[in-house]
């Protein structure tokens, strides 16, 4: 299977990643090398199966559904560029400029 330029651009859009025009052909070539390499898994027959692998404990402990103190060393006001009356201040969205 090979990946073309349009497909790489489509995937970049899905990944919210700007791709520089100067690097795009190199990227297409490298993605093709990677995808062709991982296609080696096609050698493994689909009917060869094992119990699904689960990283970590078989049963994940659930935390109590109660409000707890967040273990921050600094309060949000100390790490936010702008913080006012308990709220983070963020840049105005471009689409709201007229409002």
């Amino acid at each position: 299977m090979s990946i073309g330029l349009d497909e790489v651009l489509h995937v970049a859009k899905l990944a919210e990643l700007a791709v520089n025009e100067n690097e795009i052909l190199r990227l297409v070539d490298q993605m093709n090398r990677i995808v062709n390499y991982v296609a080696k898994l096609d050698e493994v027959p689909g009917d060869r199966t094992a119990e699904p692998f689960l990283a970590g404990p078989k049963a994940v402990m659930l935390r109590e559904d109660v409000e707890v103190t967040v273990p921050l060393a600094r309060p949000p006001s100390a790490i936010a560029p702008e913080f006012l009356e308990g709220f983070f201040l963020v840049p105005r969205h471009g689409a709201m400029e007229d409002q």
Binding site: K13, V19, L27, P76
Partner: protein
């Protein structure tokens, strides 16, 4: 500095001064991203004021810069996180400090831990301490180089697919990856969440074991930690009688580097001379470990790194006319380096509609087969596996940067254990043309203590500086 004698190192203040001098001397390695004498001195005052010295008594420990700390920035060697200060410490950091260790420095890495050579750092490559034209391995190359250069006796790195064992082998130090879930991931910047493990470098097995013991154990802040008590520092074994070691034939290919093959043969003979038994075994699905890893890890990375969008973290590159999508894309396109962008694209591709079954689902099927191979071998009476850690000693800088697949194959002997969540370690067992060679020991889940005890016996009886060719 004498390795393995942390409890006799004297006051924190003196150690902090000595460590600062060594960090200054080691600057040409480019192994460190953040350190200051003031912070080291503050750490010394803190440990000197502790009522009891703790298990790590004033041991200076370096941290890979993808483990968050309140007092120093955490960048993951990425422009996207430049200047980021965490509002909390990783659990492993809090545990190190509670055990009396001093946080000495934050170390350089492949950006977001993606790489095998520490050449993919936004802040320049790390040099191998024995030969600056070579790489120290990766992605935890800064931590490995600092320990190998004798700057600190121990350091934390992180493993997703061998990123501590491989650089430990290249640099001639001990590198230990615990069982997945044995050490809390709280505060480790996420890359591949089903694979990530905070792991340890040490100048000696004892230093690495004591650090691993201090940071292991369940953590209510990480639901994937295992509900088991912390690992104990192993008791010294007189010999290896009663031990059965498996040699998986797939890890000893005919084209294995001559020096590596000789060093492993010498290690096997030493195990037998000490009363252990060595048997050939087979792990047939390990042949698929690298392609499996390079589907699962990028897929998880693509999801984990979606949070770096220029709004929540780091620097923001504003696009034209306040377009929010342009802001995301420009920030990510300019903020991430080449290897990270490539992996995000591969991960997005294998998860996209039409390809999910062919790649991601298939990789999960093969991951289960790889894990099952290990279970079968350990159930057959094998206590530990012995393999080379890497197919060659440290390679030259720039040798593999143009070919991502060639770079990925540097992890061929280490990523299967990560896929199976197993504990494994690299131990220096000789040198080939002056370059260190590592032997890898692999244990069943929660078999760290026995693995480290066996490694201590080998460390005591094998000269890691011996030329093996």
């Amino acid at each position: 500095m004498t390795a393995g004698t942390a409890q006799k190192r004297g006051s924190g203040a003196a150690t902090a001064r000595e460590t600062g001098a060594r960090l200054t001397e080691a600057a040409p390695l480019n192994a460190v991203l953040h350190w200051s004498q003031d912070l080291l001195d503050a750490e010394a005052s803190r440990v000197d004021a502790m009522p009891t010295p703790g298990a790590l008594a004033a041991m200076p420990v370096a941290l890979k810069d993808n483990i968050v700390t309140v007092e120093q920035p955490t960048t993951c060697a990425s422009r996207v996180l430049e200047g980021y200060l965490s509002p909390y410490n990783a659990t492993a950091v809090d545990r190190l400090r509670a055990a009396g260790a001093m946080i000495a420095a934050k170390t350089n890495l492949d950006e977001f831990a993606m790489g095998s050579s520490t050449e993919h750092s936004a802040f320049g490559r790390v040099k191998h301490p024995l030969d600056p034209t070579r790489v120290p391995g990766g992605s935890s190359g800064g931590s490995a180089a600092l320990v190998a250069a004798g700057v600190v006796p121990a350091a934390l790195g992180s493993e997703t697919g061998g990123s501590v064992r491989q650089p430990a082998s290249f640099c001639g130090v001990v590198g230990v990856k615990p069982t997945y879930g044995r050490v809390s991931r709280y505060g480790l910047v996420a890359f591949g969440s089903s694979l990530d493990c905070i792991s340890v470098f040490g100048r000696t097995v004892d230093d690495a074991a004591r650090v691993l013991s201090a940071i292991s154990g369940p953590d209510p802040l990480d639901a994937t930690t295992i509900d088991r008590p912390p690992m104990q520092v192993p008791k010294a074994l007189p010999d290896l009688r009663g031990l059965t070691v498996g040699l998986p034939q797939e890890y000893f290919p005919a084209d294995l580097d001559g020096g590596v093959a000789t060093a492993l043969r010498r290690t096997t003979e030493q195990i037998q001379a000490l009363g252990g038994d060595a048997r050939l075994v087979s792990l047939p699905n390990s042949a698929y470990a690298v392609p499996t890893y390079y589907i699962i890890a990028p897929a998880e990375a693509a999801a984990n790194l979606a949070r770096y969008d220029g709004v929540r973290y780091g620097k923001r590159r504003v696009g034209p006319d306040g377009d929010i999508r342009a802001l995301y894309r420009t920030t990510r396109g300019e903020g991430f380096g080449e290897e990270v962008r490539r992996r995000i694209l591969v991960g997005t591709y294998v998860l996209s509609a039409g390809y999910y079954d062919a790649y991601y689902k298939k990789a999960q099927q093969v991951r289960a087969l790889i894990a099952e191979d290990f279970q079968r071998v350990f159930a057959s009476g094998i206590d530990l596996l012995l393999t080379p850690t890497t197919p060659t000693p440290a390679f030259k800088a720039g040798e593999k940067t143009e070919d991502p697949v060639a770079m990925y194959l540097a992890d061929i002997f280490v990523c299967s254990m990560s896929l199976a969540g197993l504990p494994a370690m690299s131990l220096p067992v000789g040198r080939s043309e002056g370059l260190p060679i590592g032997a890898q020991l692999v244990a069943p889940h929660f078999g760290e203590e026995r693995m480290l005890a066996v490694a201590q016996v080998l460390e005591r009886t094998l000269d890691p500086l011996a030329e093996v060719r």
